[in-house]
Subunit: 337 residues, 4 copies
């Protein structure tokens, strides 16, 4: 195989990763807590950090489910708490005016999280113009720039011009993200102060929304709702090695009595030796993450099988998630009893 393998250039393949926790971050830089089975990871990156990521606070909320009522309320509570902390971190005051932006394309349901969230945000800016509003409500307006493929206008351009015109004090922007780990699809909320680059549509100029480009504070909220099939395959191969390693090294009698598909092997930390990896998966077992993704991409692309996919019942999930985000945003922005 060797010779032909060299023809596959595995050097600089870089799949888009929207989530900070999917980067290689040292464990001691992250502060964590967990509550009701929900994990909150928080990190503050400085300028010129080694991850080559923008400076700012990144919060990642990981949960199992938001469709059950109790789970929904637990996630909502933590989302509100963390969003509140971000407002404090950015020193946003009670009277500061907010523009909430729903990014994405509402006609493609997996990309409609932003649009559906702002549908339920309580809007008051017009009442402030009339001086006809309970001051416990913050001055809030919304904007749905849609995507350049639909409007012909870059969403950044729309936002920049509206911000210049109506002068809000800060922005909250919501978008659907692309997951780089299959287990995160619809199961992670990321909040960050470092800005966001909307969409990945063809011809999108992809200019970042951030304090640098807009002159005002930007809070970005994202949920990964789609995943590349390359990721599905390379993740599974990674998990396959993990599972076999677990089975080899686990003496836990209870696990042995469980049906094989109930054994949760994911927290197994035993590392397979190269020799073992090769036995199980041949040459493929020896590739690092990037090489593996590149290879899978090269297998799928020529046969037009490299799809960006979403879960079958995405309509239902987006409905729940957009309700949760809008409810949380309303509770944090406004001070209603």
């Amino acid at each position: 195989m060797g010779d032909n393998m060299h023809e596959i250039n595995l050097s600089n393949y870089d799949l888009r990763t929207d989530l900070i926790v999917e980067q290689n971050i040292k464990k001691d830089e992250i502060s964590k807590y967990s509550c009701n089975n929900i994990l909150v990871e928080s990190i503050v990156l400085k300028k010129n950090n080694k991850l080559n990521k923008k400076e700012g606070k990144y919060i990642t909320i990981s949960y199992k489910d938001v469709t059950d009522n109790d789970n929904y309320n637990n996630v909502l509570e933590i989302f509100q708490k963390e969003l509140n902390k971000v407002l404090d971190y950015l020193k946003i005051k009670k009277r500061d005016k907010c523009l909430v932006i729903g990014l994405g394309n509402k006609k493609i349901i997996s990309d409609a999280l932003g649009s559906k969230t702002i549908d339920n945000v309580i809007v008051t800016r017009h009442l402030y113009l009339l001086n006809n509003v309970d001051k416990n409500y913050r001055n809030v307006s919304i904007l749905e720039p849609n995507v350049i493929g639909v409007t012909g206008i870059d969403s950044f351009e729309i936002i920049k011009n509206i911000v210049k015109g109506i002068k809000p004090d800060f922005i909250i922007a919501i978008d659907s993200l692309c997951a780089a780990d299959i287990r995160r699809v619809n199961k992670t909320i990321q909040i960050t102060t470092s800005g966001i680059t909307p969409g990945s549509g063809i011809g999108n100029s992809r200019i970042e929304l951030s304090k640098d480009t807009l002159g005002i504070k930007v809070i970005a909220i994202g949920v990964p709702t789609v995943v590349d099939s390359t990721v599905i395959v390379s993740d599974t191969i990674k998990y396959l090695l993990k599972k076999i390693s677990y089975l080899k090294n686990n003496d836990n009698v209870i696990d042995k009595l469980k049906p094989i598909d109930k054994v949760d092997y994911i927290n197994n930390n035993y590392e397979l030796q190269n020799e073992e990896k090769k036995e199980i998966l041949g040459y493929i077992g020896l590739l690092n993450n990037n090489e593996l993704k590149r290879l899978v991409w090269e297998v799928l692309t020529p046969i037009e099988a490299n799809m960006i996919v979403t879960v079958k019942d995405i309509d239902f999930v987006i409905d729940k998630l957009s309700k949760l985000l809008s409810q949380g945003i309303n509770n944090v922005l406004h001070h209603i009893d």
Copy 2:
């Protein structure tokens, strides 16, 4: 009755009229033609005209139906022809960039004509940015500002800022209008170069979109899709007098043999004498149009029965009309075979 009647101030009641043909215009100022049962009326108003209307060209296309296939195509053809004439009148060139604006609130179907029309407009501005486009397509982008009650931002403010940012050469703005004659609901397309004032929502600042306010040429396209119940009542009373006058003065034997609800009395020009009007409708018969509307309004308002209404199957009608307008706009803006 007299004394109490005086308490009702009928002097300066002015119901909103979006259509120029519903104004009192001298017949010789209007140029007309009719084709396939479709009437086209055209008028050019000078500055400081007696109607107190903005200067500009006003075209009114009146038709019976757009749901039948043949009727649809006939109206489409005339709409395209007239829209083309308006582009010529404004000296708009083949390379001039157009921003098509869908006014109104897409969640209220009777107000969604603009939004649904731009959904089907062919957009190319992003392809021009990439220099990747057949030059027979004009540079076109779309904008859906929504209404201030939903976004907190006046639609004029959104448009003004986007126009400043992306600098189109001219605007086509589409909106649902309010009819001042029940027979025009969904049956008239008005095209004008004099600008348009979006919406009538609560708290809407109602700033006009026009060359004066935006600095570029504006073509406004409107269809009356709603009507005030005050208009329904006062129109019907007006028609009632007309019908009875027709019955009194008509010797046409054929009409006498028709069932009463088939006799088209509308082109009857015989005027009832005041004495006759009083006999038929008492004091009410002697009121002029404005007085009658004011009176009806005063009857309906205190009992919360003064509604803005639309036809029952408005969903279906808006679907047809928005397709017709977008098809016509595409054919006029782009030069596709």
Copy 3:
């Protein structure tokens, strides 16, 4: 006028009335109560009653508003209470299986009340089939027969065959109705045990859903969401007489100081004399209700101006009403804490 007037046949015009309270009912047959500005009227009709209406219990709930939160909850509470009484009246037991039917055409929003209501009804029949359900939930299934103009199948035929097949113990059917009084549009819920005749679409065979035709108990719930423009006009003329009579006979100083459009004249019981009616409205003032409606119909029909209309923001109203009905139905059918 006389002679010509005779040509207008006012004898047997009968506008459809879906609401029992719009019939001429003797006051002492109706039992009433009122709570939080909501009026509940209840009547039990025997077989072969003078109204020529089917025997059964008729409940009419009249309210001013359901869009405000408090009003919504007040109406919801009364709707539940009355629906519960109807289940008791029909001796429906806790274990009886219910089929909830949403009548109408979901693509025409004014006709979508039934369809949108059942969207939120909690369905359990499939869980009973699996024997996998908390028995505090009743056995409930839903059916959306749509309209014959869309499916080619009469909704009665669909319902009859499904009822035969799955054998529920009783039916709750929800439909949009046609109001015969402008003040009732969207402001009345009627519950009846006498059955319901779905739709009025072209070619609809209009067979009644009732115990007689289906063999099981039927509870019909309806809200008038549309109104005929004939009704708008004739109602307004009726109210006009009422208002002028009020102004003539009212010595209330406070009313005289109010702006004219704030004076609520509706509860005025003074009857104008014929002489006064004729002074105000001429011959028209002397017509009875049916004659007036017939006349208005004859004015509007030949000029194609007789429309069935709905309020402009019907989308919003249907959303609220369908939520209220589904919530009430769920609370009554199921016994959840």
Copy 4:
């Protein structure tokens, strides 16, 4: 690894396959033709065939694209031609009455193909009831049974009862399918006379719609719109072996000059030897298809990563496909010029 490997039972794992061409069929049983890059495969299975599949005619239309206008028209033409042949095969006559059924759940867009297709089918049964129809139109009605998880009623039960009631001569049923090959998602239309088993929802009794169960002829039309992530992974591993084998055995100079992701290796028929497979993919390389799928399933299930997925822009694809199917069905059922 050996010992642990034995713990994974690979014997009888059977992933659902809705498509006949994904079965192991001998090549000489299939009749094929290809036109405009569209492949049509046709097979007639006898009773008690070796595939353990129901007897009947199976037609599979495979295409690359339906979003481009020309491709859409080419696929439409072939779909009509093949559907016509099926009607002939079943000896369906010009006057036979058809019930077109849209299976699936319209609220989950990937499952809405059936529902969206029947939305555009021309319905005439109600006009036949009125004897008011051009006889070139067939007697057609539609039915949308929805899914048991939504209605509480098995779709089979609804269909059976309606068929019993309205007695059509034959059924056309449209459903979204589950692909067992990633390259078929949205790119295959299957037409069969052998019946169809609707849905795979929880609690669905999954009774087959067929002549055996309904007593009338059934034509089933399906498009795979979703795929299991297990399939994505095991397919990719299969293709990976194929690609590497191609690279090893291909001396084509042109291919060597192409970028690696442009080399179409799929028609490579060289089979890797076991020794080579093991070198590339270790033990995994030696698994047969079923063993591989079972293993992947066992890796993904315990970590809740085994999702049924669909493409990101499924909304757009379903829109195109449902238009194509309804247009084809209308052209075949009715005889309009």
